[in-house]
């Protein structure tokens, strides 16, 4: 049952729309009308109607996939296709310890945290103070206790506990990390620091939009002795149903002969608009 204080994902018109923290005394308003928050104390996913009985909305339990679709973002974020590959190819599993930099919108962070579970740890570093704070708030709101967000320039200061007193919480130890993910403009500048943190056998992934970044990263990875390099790109495409009126060519000419009148057929059609590129993922292992 949903409780006051829970942050849920609001589904409107069948799609995830926004985070919503259920709060005593409040009202949610949309084009269908008003919804008292006390009507939200139902099971996640149950239909909730507005005061005037229209516009069903739903409050869903936040999960990694929904968070990615809902999280507010000012800059480009990592989407489902890249996130899926990162988690699978970093071989994440419950109980592991993971580093991420930068935190960005927190979209990937939530998926990483879910993959290592409540027994694992996510240490995520963000250069931009506003975004670092966003990250902290997001984790608190969604009760992702295994994630810690640091405000830090990792090129300069790496991942270990340092002088910067702003950062609270447990820092990771050297050679204790199972996997590292870098989404930085110049990932090669953070590889030295990464090597210090990674366990033997651990894996790294660097995300970069441009091939020149990939080339520099790969070169630096090789020089530092990382092994088993792989670079890939992964794009997703969506399909929709399209209803067609199947009309015979001959109907038009001789108005009388009409074989399958008004026959409606549905086809699978590709949705033409898609991301042609997000970035390249470069994986390596520390042996």
């Amino acid at each position: 049952m949903i409780q006051y204080g829970d942050t849920m994902i609001l589904f409107e018109d069948g799609k995830p729309k926004q985070f919503l923290t259920v709060t005593q005394g409040q009202t949610y308003q949309n084009k269908y009308g008003a919804y008292h928050h006390y009507t939200f104390l139902v099971k996640p996913g149950e239909e909730i109607l507005s005061k005037n009985g229209t516009g069903p909305i739903y409050l869903m339990t936040p999960n990694p996939h929904l968070i990615t679709e809902t999280v507010p973002h000012k800059t480009q974020i990592l989407f489902m296709a890249d996130i899926s590959m990162i988690i699978l190819k970093l071989c994440l599993k419950p109980g592991q310890r993971v580093i991420e930099s930068g935190t960005g919108s927190g979209s990937l962070s939530c998926s990483l945290a879910a993959a290592v579970g409540h027994k694992g740890r996510l240490f995520t570093y963000e250069f931009n103070k506003e975004r670092a704070n966003n990250g902290k708030e997001l984790f608190a709101k969604l009760k992702i206790n295994q994630a810690t967000c640091f405000w830090r320039d990792v090129y300069a200061n790496g991942f270990l506990k340092g002088e910067d007193t702003e950062n609270q919480g447990e820092f990771p130890q050297e050679s204790s990390i199972d996997a590292i993910f870098l989404d930085l403009p110049q990932p090669w500048l953070a590889l030295d620091h990464s090597k210090k943190m990674i366990k033997k056998g651990g894996r790294i992934c660097c995300f970069s939009p441009c091939i020149e970044q990939v080339q520099k990263t790969a070169l630096e990875l090789k020089q530092q002795g990382w092994k088993n390099l792989e670079t890939l790109e992964c794009l997703k495409r969506h399909f929709e149903r399209r209803v067609k009126q199947e009309q015979s060519l001959f109907d038009d000419v001789q108005k009388k002969v009409c074989t399958d009148q008004n026959k409606r057929v549905t086809y699978s059609a590709g949705i033409n608009q898609a991301y042609g590129h997000t970035g390249y993922l470069t994986f390596a292992q520390y042996i």
Binding site: Q76, E212, L249, S268, A269, G276, H277, Y280
Partner: protein
């Protein structure tokens, strides 16, 4: 040097990499990009020349340097939020803070040339100077695209006729992406003296491509879906290609379906571009295709080609049936910023090809 003649269709390609196809006549007013200007100015001028719409909406010739200075055709930066800087600290202030009001800009438009407006807008941006070099370039590009209207004049080609329509309303071309059109042509292997039966409901883009290749040496009998009563010249791609009388004569618009069967010789090609009830076409007309003839079908829907494949297979009359689609992506090639373009059309349609062997 070839000159633009009266009544000729030309392609205008602008500094946003968008295009428009217009017919050139004396004193012909054309509306584009919120401007209305007299395209008749282009009469008797050369192709591959550059033009600008000035603040009085007059069309004046400019140099190629002036044009390319206001465009980004060769770079085509599309990496909306991709930056390589040491830090990404600045990214948060991405939105422009402009001191000029909308009204001020509107009144500027009447008094000044586009280049001058861009200068003023930049001078009144609170954030321009803090931007990275790359952000500045992108900002400038967007402002130039917005306030400066210039274009080059090209001959119409299948490629730019297709592109112009596809950008605006791809559904009018049955979502037939440029590579599918290219594949359609290659799989059809049109040669001289082909005798072609076509079904095209994509407004005649495929018919135009075939007719251009045939060059008047052969014949095309074509059925337009739901347009059986129209005149051939009503189909804009065919008009826009400025075909010679010879080529136009090679295209026979079928108005009465019974005429299809009255053809003296068998058809060397049966080509279908777009959505019809394919099965009824093959039921009725497969027998009219000569032995060794080529069959090509384009569709947006794989299921429909699957159905055709089943039908042709069970007819026992056709050779190996190929069903294929393609993946096509443009790339941005810039120093330190090379990557596939973010904007992509992910579904180009499907093609079926086979040979009639009996």
């Amino acid at each position: 040097m070839e000159i633009i003649e009266e009544d000729t269709w030309v392609c205008l390609e602008d500094n946003r990499n968008e295009s428009k196809i217009v017919k050139v006549n004396e004193k012909k007013m054309v509306g584009w990009r919120k401007h209305k200007f007299d395209i008749g100015v282009l009469l008797h001028k050369q192709y591959n020349t550059f033009w600008k719409v000035d603040k009085t909406n007059a069309v004046v010739e400019i140099s190629s340097d002036q044009f390319y200075d206001n465009t980004d055709l060769d770079n085509q930066i599309d990496d909306a939020n991709i930056e390589i800087t040491k830090t990404n600290k600045d990214l948060f202030d991405f939105n422009d803070s402009q001191k000029l009001t909308q009204e001020e800009i509107l009144s500027l438009k009447k008094q000044k040339e586009g280049e001058e407006i861009v200068d003023e807008v930049i001078q009144n941006s609170k954030t321009f100077e803090q931007k990275t070099e790359f952000s500045k370039a992108k900002y400038l590009k967007r402002k130039k695209e917005k306030y400066i209207c210039c274009f080059m004049v090209l001959k119409t080609t299948i490629e730019n006729v297709h592109k112009t329509q596809f950008l605006e309303t791809p559904q009018k071309l049955n979502f037939m992406r440029v590579d599918s059109l290219a594949f359609f042509m290659q799989l059809s292997s049109i040669t001289q003296n082909s005798n072609i039966l076509m079904f095209d409901n994509a407004n005649g883009i495929a018919v135009s491509a075939v007719a251009e290749r045939l060059d008047g040496e052969g014949s095309i009998s074509t059925v337009f879906w739901n347009h059986t009563k129209s005149n051939l010249r009503d189909y804009w791609p065919i008009q826009q290609m400025n075909f010679s009388e010879e080529i136009l004569k090679s295209i026979k618009l079928i108005k009465n379906l019974e005429d299809i069967e009255k053809n003296e010789n068998k058809y060397t090609h049966l080509l279908i571009a777009g959505e019809f009830k394919f099965t009824e076409i093959f039921e009725k007309y497969l027998k009219l295709v000569a032995v060794g003839g080529i069959i090509v079908v384009f569709s947006t829907y794989l299921e429909k080609l699957h159905e055709v494949a089943e039908q042709l297979l069970s007819s026992g009359l056709c050779g190996k049936i190929d069903v294929l689609d393609s993946f096509m992506r443009y790339h941005q090639v810039l120093e330190n910023r090379t990557h596939p373009k973010v904007e992509m059309n992910a579904f180009g349609g499907y093609l079926l090809q086979t040979y009639k062997l009996k």
